[in-house]
């Protein structure tokens, strides 16, 4: 009688705390589960009673990786609630901010967290010795993405210059030109990293489970900052119908809420965006998708890593195009927001690195928030991860236990989950 019992508590190389449990006997899976053990965050309660111009700054703190995306979704919700129109310049600059975050986050995930799995290392540390050149390029790209966030948002995390109705500080034409050139110069490094991932892509399991994909979608662009809600199953609906898509519910083994729409679960994130918006990718991004054999609609969750890589290329291509457009129009660094505070309810959706994000606020006539709802991408993926586990585990039971454990870990990491924060003090002993 053969027994397999895997308990991975606090899976590493993901954000926050989640556990993997697999119990199998005689080739049959008895239990396989992705458990989320994060504590509730109460952000929706924090913002009640707070003035409208504080909300993006408070809710950006939901996440240290997606803080730009939370700020943008928050500002869009507030602007929708009060009927505030934003300028074309603001639209373009916010798209740059969204790309800056996409680059920051995807470079971190693919470079620091996924590359070790593909290159057979336990973490990025040994890679710094065995693949020094690649690690140098990854750190360089991450540094440039940070600089880009700093330019567009006033800080690398938790934006300060993104405000209701526009910007409190606008980058100059000179700064934008310099940033554009830096990304042009960075393309060979991105290609070099992509080549390494491509050479190891055969290590990504060929696992397919059909599911529904949900992401923002638009006619004229690869939707990240704006669009309708798209589903590979049911088509497009406006953002204000988001509750019909998310349908949150609770399960006993998770402190995080689950979601479902047309099937038992759906997936959000880079692969969902790719599947829904492939036609609007930049030419180089499409070329790289082709090299990996990635085509829409792809149902292998491990390919989310590749979709992120494709999006890195796309975000650079679109950055160049957007900066060109800004420079062509001429940048007005003195433009400041103009609006009136009004009562109302508004919904903002942004497709942040880990998937579609919703903020929904209600304000009274003083501009004080009376109700808020935020639905985060990772929570929309938990249910899909669990169902992937149930389909994937039986197919790998013949492998050694350590390999099964690694494959299940890789599956969770492919979703790039961002669960919650914890404390980070040093824990050391003195060398004797």
């Amino acid at each position: 009688m053969s027994e397999i019992n895997i308990n991975v508590e606090h899976l590493t190389r993901v954000e926050g705390h989640g556990n993997i449990v697999l119990n199998a006997k005689n080739g049959n899976v008895e239990k396989v589960q992705w458990q989320v053990s994060e504590a509730p965050r109460f952000f929706e309660s924090f913002v009640r009673g707070r003035p409208y111009n504080e909300l993006s700054h408070i809710t950006s703190r939901i996440c240290g990786i997606c803080s730009i995306g939370h700020s943008l979704a928050s500002l869009k919700a507030t602007e929708a609630a009060m009927g505030i129109e934003i300028s074309e310049q603001t639209q373009l600059l916010r798209r740059l901010a969204a790309h800056a975050e996409n680059l920051q986050s995807h470079v971190l995930h693919v470079g620091y967290l996924v590359a070790p799995d593909l290159l057979g290392a336990p973490s990025v540390i040994p890679l710094a010795s065995s693949h020094t050149d690649a690690v140098l390029k990854i750190v360089g790209l991450h540094r440039l993405a940070n600089e880009y966030s700093n330019l567009t948002c006033g800080r690398t995390v938790h934006p300060v210059s993104l405000v209701v109705g526009g910007f409190s500080h606008i980058p100059s034409e000179k700064q934008l030109k310099e940033m554009r050139q830096k990304w042009v110069d960075a393309i060979p490094d991105v290609v070099a990293v992509a080549e390494i991932v491509l050479a190891n892509a055969h290590k990504l399991p060929n696992f397919v489970r059909e599911t529904e994909f949900v992401a923002l979608t638009a006619d004229d662009e690869y939707a990240i900052y704006d669009g309708d809600i798209g589903s590979t199953d049911t088509g497009r609906v406006p953002v204000d119908q988001y509750l019909d898509i998310t349908n949150e519910f609770v399960v006993p083994h998770s402190t995080a809420k689950y979601t479902k729409h047309n099937r038992e679960s759906y997936m959000v994130g880079a692969l969902a965006r790719f599947n829904l918006n492939y036609d609007r990718l930049g030419p180089l991004a499409k070329e790289w998708a082709g090299k990996f054999g990635l085509e829409p609609v792809n149902h292998n969750p491990f390919m989310n890593n590749v979709a992120q890589l494709v999006e890195i290329v796309h975000s650079i291509e679109d950055t160049l195009a957007l900066i060109d457009k800004l420079l062509e129009k001429g940048v007005d660094v003195n433009e400041r927001p103009k609006y009136e505070v009004k009562a109302g309810r508004g919904i903002g959706a942004v497709d942040v690195p880990r998937g579609i994000l919703f903020h929904d606020y209600t304000y009274n006539d003083q501009g004080v928030c009376t109700k808020a709802n935020c639905i985060i991408p990772t929570n929309q993926n938990h249910n899909n991860i669990n169902l992937d586990f149930q389909a994937f585990a039986p197919t790998i039971l013949d492998k050694p236990e350590a390999e099964i454990e690694l494959l299940l870990e890789m599956l969770v990491r492919a979703y790039d989950p961002c669960i919650s924060c914890s404390t980070h003090y040093l824990n050391v002993e003195w060398k004797r």
Binding site: R13, V14, H142, H424, Y425
Partner: protein, 148 residues
Amino acid sequence: MTTGIIGIGNPLMGDDGAGLAVLSRLQADPLPDVKLIELGTGGINLVHELAGLDRAIIIDAADFGGDPGEIRKFKPDEVRSLKTQGYSLHDWDLFTTLDISKKMGELPDEIIIFAIQVVETGHKEGLSPHVVGAVPEVARMIRKLILL
């Protein structure tokens, strides 16, 4: 010589905010020719902050089994980290990051770490009394080091 003083920690996690408290104290009475860097919970971003520095003074909360609020000044090679090497962006390890910086050839020539023994690191604002007491002392030690 470019010196950076880097405060690490999360002020919403009790004594984990000790490093930032020292940094605030130094900010109140600026030192000549030093860069004060509030890393907070920036984790891997430390690699970027270290680039270009000749000397880095790092202040962080620590658990080394000392007395509450005890201060230790040491160099990275004097300790062994007890953190697991799994590596997530939310559970990073200072020594791992220093190692990456070294492999990149960007590690400052001199690294000095000031560690303050924590008492409580739960979800709360403010430091425990022993750690509060250590803050001006660490600031004084750093001031002395810089002005030497």
